[in-house]
């Protein structure tokens, strides 16, 4: 597939897949912010509490958004058989699904910008640059995990939840401060706990991006080595 051709189909992908999913995510945000509007109007919280409120809401809703935006990139096409006509055209599955992932990645930032806009309009003006970087970290790591799972399972987001829970349980069971095993577990597992942080150090960023990009590359490798018709 020519680069220009792939770029041109990006618009179709946005209209067909990513755009509607961003809208759904924003509708969920609006549905939650609307009742808040009345609560805050009657008793406005102190500014410090407001910051925590924005941060807390974003953590919850961005996790939901990452599932909405990334799920089924490969799995849905495979289960429904849509890949058959796409990939009979001069199209590489790596290009096709890889650009769909990148589009979802960009959509995470758009989602957060929309979240802040909706929150500012309906509750109270708020802007946190840190939330945009938090959305990127979440998209890269959790999005990469969903993408990799999408190439090998039919229900990628369910498996991602199972993995996320498992990782959290292991971290809680083996804290890094208490034992060598804890330090090993902490080093080996994907750094899911960092995506909730408001600001990350350079090392933490490298850890998150490294895992996310690694998982994305694993997904591409699976796409290259395992035909889509194989169960």
């Amino acid at each position: 597939m020519m680069r220009g051709q792939a770029a041109r189909y990006l618009g179709r992908m946005f209209v067909d897949r990513t755009g509607p999913r961003i809208l759904v995510s924003w509708i969920i945000v609006a549905a939650i912010c609307l009742p808040l509007h009345f609560v805050v109007k009657n008793s406005p919280p102190p500014p410090a509490q407001l910051g925590n409120m924005v941060q807390g809401m974003h953590t919850q809703l961005a996790f939901l958004a990452v599932v909405v935006l990334f799920h089924g990139i490969v799995a849905e096409d495979r289960v429904k058989g849509y890949y058959r006509f796409y990939l009979a055209k001069p199209v590489s599955p790596l290009w096709f699904y890889g650009q769909s992932y990148l589009l979802a990645q960009a959509a995470m930032v758009v989602f957060t910008a929309g979240f802040l806009a909706i929150f500012s309009l309906s509750v109270t003006p708020a802007w946190e640059w840190g939330l945009l970087t938090s959305a990127v970290a979440l998209g890269v790591l959790i999005g990469g995990m969903i993408f990799a799972l999408s190439t090998v399972t039919q229900r990628d987001w369910i498996w991602m939840l199972v993995m996320a829970i498992l990782i959290s349980v292991l971290r809680a069971r083996f804290p890094k401060e208490r034992s060598t095993l804890g330090r090993v577990v902490n080093a080996v597992l994907p750094p899911n706990h960092l995506v909730d942080e408001k600001s990350l150090s350079l090392g933490q960023w490298a850890w998150v991006i490294g895992w996310g990009v690694g998982l994305f590359l694993v997904g591409l490798w699976v796409l290259r080595s395992r035909p889509l018709g194989e169960d």
């Binding site: 067909d16 006509f85 990939l87 009979a88 001069p90 889509l228």
Partner: protein, 306 residues
């Protein structure tokens, strides 16, 4: 053009129990410029072969090449006109939009794209459905849309899996004209179908597969004419000359006195016998193959007559 060499495909369950051999030691070479039919009973391995040919499945052993390249290398560089047995298109898309999307992916030049979309809409009679969503289409119209997207680009390889599935008799007939119109030097058309009559009308050769193996290749108009088949001979009035020309001919139970069921004959024997009864003054009303010639070869190949 397309070469299958000792191809095998075995499906295995997660635990490796009860492996299913879908294709075994399959070797075949199609020629450029021909329409090649693939016929076989349900579960014979037709769809598996096509999936391997598109690179959607990996063979367990052996290899497939298209124009000397691996299937994916060919498809990703040139594309294939492909209609799958089950047409899967997102249901919310509109017919014209579907074709525009696939035309974009098919790498058609921008200035030709719209004209090509309109041309296939017209060719497949989808004008009145062009604004409808895919979910609003009947089975037959969905199949026509699937065929339309396969014909969008002038690919050198066209693969149609059960192309008339869901078609009414009119469109089944029209499909034959479309299929014959696809034939051109440098292009290979592969059609997998249950419909032997359809294959006999459009294909140059038909590979008959059963239990994943290539049982026979029938060359339409040559190999097929060499086989024996039974015919029904309808005459204006019964005559002993028929029995003399065709020893073993029986009067039909339904139309006694007018119709004979002839014994299995090849074409030269049939024509010699017909000449004799014409010389004896018998008026022939019709000579009808009891089954199509390809069907006779098919039944012989898959052992359906045993």
């Amino acid at each position: 053009m397309i070469v299958f060499r000792n191809l095998s495909k075995t499906y295995r369950t997660l635990l490796g129990r009860r492996p299913v051999r879908a294709v075994e030691e399959f070797s075949l070479e199609t020629e450029s410029g021909e329409i090649f039919g693939i016929a076989g009973p349900n579960g014979a391995g037709k769809s598996t072969l096509i999936n391997i040919l598109l690179g959607f499945l990996a063979p367990t052993a052996g290899e497939v090449t298209i124009g000397g390249l691996s299937p994916r290398a060919w498809v990703e560089s040139r594309g294939v006109g492909y209609l799958s047995e089950l047409v899967a298109i997102p249901p919310a898309w509109r017919v014209r939009g579907v074709l525009r999307r696939y035309a974009l992916l098919a790498d058609l030049p921008a200035q030709e794209r719209e004209a090509r979309v309109e041309a296939v809409i017209q060719q497949l009679g989808l004008e009145e459905h062009a604004g409808k969503r895919v979910k609003q289409l009947s089975k037959g119209n969905l199949q026509r849309l699937g065929l339309a997207q396969a014909l969008l680009s002038g690919s050198d390889v066209i693969i149609l899996d059960e192309p008339t599935h869901g078609f009414d008799p009119l469109w089944t007939q029209r499909f034959r004209d479309i299929a014959l119109g696809l034939k051109r030097p440098g292009r290979t058309v592969v059609i997998a179908s249950h419909n032997l009559d359809e294959l006999e009308r459009v294909a140059d050769r038909v590979g008959i597969i059963d239990h994943g193996r290539l049982q026979q290749i029938a060359v339409i108009g040559a190999r097929v004419t060499g086989s024996q088949a039974r015919y029904r001979l309808v005459v204006a009035a019964p005559s002993p000359a028929v029995g003399e020309a065709f020893p073993g001919a029986e009067l039909s139970a339904e139309r006694r006195g007018e119709e004979y069921l002839l014994p299995p004959l090849d074409l030269p024997a049939l024509n010699a016998g017909l000449r004799r009864i014409l010389e004896a003054g018998v008026q022939i009303v019709a000579v009808v193959p009891e089954r199509s010639r390809l069907e006779a070869v098919f039944r012989e190949a898959v052992g359906a007559d045993e």
